[in-house]
């Protein structure tokens, strides 16, 4: 399957100690799935959602979100972290069917 489209809004540079605000989104239908009878009365749809987003910055985990079917389609999350040293911010979205989507953004920190 084609890699999922993701969108990340994060400043490229920051001063050391400053709060960096990040907004990220991944394209996913977030199928809540249903165990009961659906339209044709027999078929059940399996749950297929992004269940976890983890964000690491310069090697250390700074944020993690556990999603449930109650999160809207194309899960959007905004969070923040404190800028320390220049490094890569790695976003990892993992899905129910095991697929993992990652995206990396470089943050240059000026002292």
């Amino acid at each position: 399957m084609a890699p999922r489209a993701t969108r990340i809004v994060m400043p490229a540079t920051a001063k050391s100690g400053e709060i960096v605000r990040v907004r990220c989104l991944i394209q996913h239908p977030m199928v809540a799935g249903s165990t009961g009878p659906t339209g044709d009365g027999t078929s059940t749809t399996a749950r297929n959602i992004i269940h976890t987003l983890t964000v690491s910055y310069a090697g250390a985990d700074v944020f993690r979100a556990d999603y449930q079917p109650g999160i809207a389609a194309n899960p959007y999350t905004a969070f923040a972290f404190r800028a320390g040293a220049s490094g890569d911010v790695v976003f990892t979205w993992s899905e129910d069917n095991g697929a993992v989507t990652t995206a990396t953004r470089r943050l240059n920190v000026t002292p």
Partner: protein, 184 residues
């Protein structure tokens, strides 16, 4: 007013050549009247809806799965309020995507920071909506996301602080068109 529009269409059906002045064009007054009638027609169902929605603001009882999820999470610990603010619209036309922001007043130092923020809904089929893990390096305890709500209900947020205490807040959202969320 509507009659004049109907005459307009039948006048052009006759075989004879159409002369511009013969065709009864709706005058400006008809156009304005038509417009107002159209708007009145469009608004009337909305009025009905909002009456239904307003009537629903009597908080409906939380579902059983919310009570169990809440009890599992709180485990009898005391709940404090005041430091956690839950920012969510009071009225959501469609429950498919309701934007939400949770902010906790916390210095986010190693000694005193927010460890986890839980989002729960009282009347969604699955009570837990999401959980966010923060660390002292988060700097501020502010998270935004967009959630789905099946019907008018209270959305609850709980923040677990590093010293073990719980901060909580609740907000009611009137949902006009529920999100289709029916596992089972």
């Amino acid at each position: 007013m509507v009659r004049s529009m109907i005459d307009h269409s039948s006048a052009t059906n006759r075989a004879q050549p159409i002369r511009r002045d013969m065709v009864a064009r709706p005058s400006r007054r008809d156009m304005v009247a038509g417009g107002i009638a159209a708007c009145a027609y469009a608004v009337s169902p909305l009025v009905g809806w909002t009456q239904i929605a307003v009537a629903q603001t009597v908080p409906a009882k939380p579902l059983a799965q919310f009570e169990t999820a809440w009890a599992e999470l709180v485990q009898g610990r005391p709940l404090a309020t005041g430091r956690l603010t839950l920012d969510i619209p009071r009225l959501a036309e469609s429950g498919n995507s309701v934007s939400l922001k949770v902010a906790v007043a916390s210095p986010m130092t190693a000694a005193d920071h927010v460890q986890r923020i839980h989002l729960l809904s009282e009347r969604n089929p699955i009570a837990t909506i999401g959980r966010f893990h923060l660390t002292p390096s988060s700097g501020v305890a502010e998270v935004e996301t967009s959630i789905r709500l099946a019907t008018t209900q209270n959305v609850r947020a709980i923040a677990e602080m590093s010293d073990g205490t719980l901060q909580t807040a609740s907000a009611e959202v009137v949902v006009l068109l529920g999100a289709c969320l029916d596992p089972g």
